[in-house]
């Protein structure tokens, strides 16, 4: 996949999957066998239980577009920061509290680019990747679709 920018392609891995992921294995995949990586930042987003009220989140996605949008976000990160690699994994289906939802990993020679690229990918992914969360509550009721937060839009806008 094209990493964008004039520095040539960097490895960008995007996966949309029902099954769980292993953050440590994904970090290893971006760092193993190379000596130029000085910083790796991995962010994992988990399902929280909302003070015990939540039984599970159900994540719906738009197949095809979800992969495309996250890849676009990762490529933009690669064009804006001198990163050496990026991985973004987003799960769909029913996820119980404590379970993994999303992973972004960025590697670079120095920490700032890795921190910023990872945060940028998360902020953009939240407002651009076609995923929707529905709550299943512990009292057996199917709750509401989670509402988009203005704070997420502001978080994405600060990178523009």
């Amino acid at each position: 996949m094209d990493g964008g920018g004039a520095r040539g392609a960097v490895p960008i891995n995007v996966r949309i999957q029902r099954e769980d992921f292993d953050a440590a294995a994904e970090v290893a995949a971006l760092t193993q066998g190379r000596a130029d990586v000085g910083a790796v930042v991995a962010f994992t987003g988990l399902c929280r239980d909302e003070a015990g009220a939540l039984a599970a989140l159900e994540l719906e996605h738009y197949p095809g577009m979800a992969e495309d949008e996250i890849a676009r976000v990762a490529q933009e990160a690669a064009a804006r920061w001198p990163i050496l690699g990026a991985t973004a994994i987003h799960r769909y289906g029913k996820i119980a509290p404590g379970g993994n939802i999303v992973l972004v990993v960025a590697t670079s020679p120095h920490r700032r680019a890795a921190f910023e690229a990872a945060e940028f990918m998360m902020d953009y992914l939240k407002t651009r990747a076609p995923f929707w969360k529905k709550e299943h509550r512990r009292d057996g009721t199917t709750g509401e679709w989670v509402e988009a937060k203005d704070a997420d839009d502001s978080a994405a806008q600060r990178w523009t």
């Binding site: 095809g64 939802i101 939240k126 407002t127 929707w132 969360k133």
Partner: protein, 87 residues
């Protein structure tokens, strides 16, 4: 005359309409996304309910985000959905 379009719906838009997707041929005077939403809203109560607040509806043409003034000519698939809540 517009060609048949695949329309896809997600999250509460899908639930309100009661369909994940369908193929429809909008009339020739429907030229952009906003007009398509207005035309769909007239197709029945479930559509009117799904599109009751057009301002919050997001659209994608051939899997790319678009604004409501985007022309639909040449589109193969148009999707409608609420603001995204992934991550």
């Amino acid at each position: 005359m517009n060609a048949p379009l695949k329309l896809s719906y997600f999250a509460w838009v899908r639930e309100r309409i009661g369909l994940p997707d369908e193929a429809l041929t909008p009339p020739a005077d429907v030229t952009n996304v906003a007009e398509l939403i207005a035309w769909l809203s007239g197709r029945g109560e479930e559509y009117a309910y799904a599109f009751e607040r057009p301002g919050v509806i997001r659209a994608a043409i051939d899997r790319k985000h678009v604004k409501h003034d985007a022309p639909i000519a040449g589109a193969r698939e148009i999707a409608f959905f609420p603001p995204m809540t992934g991550g």
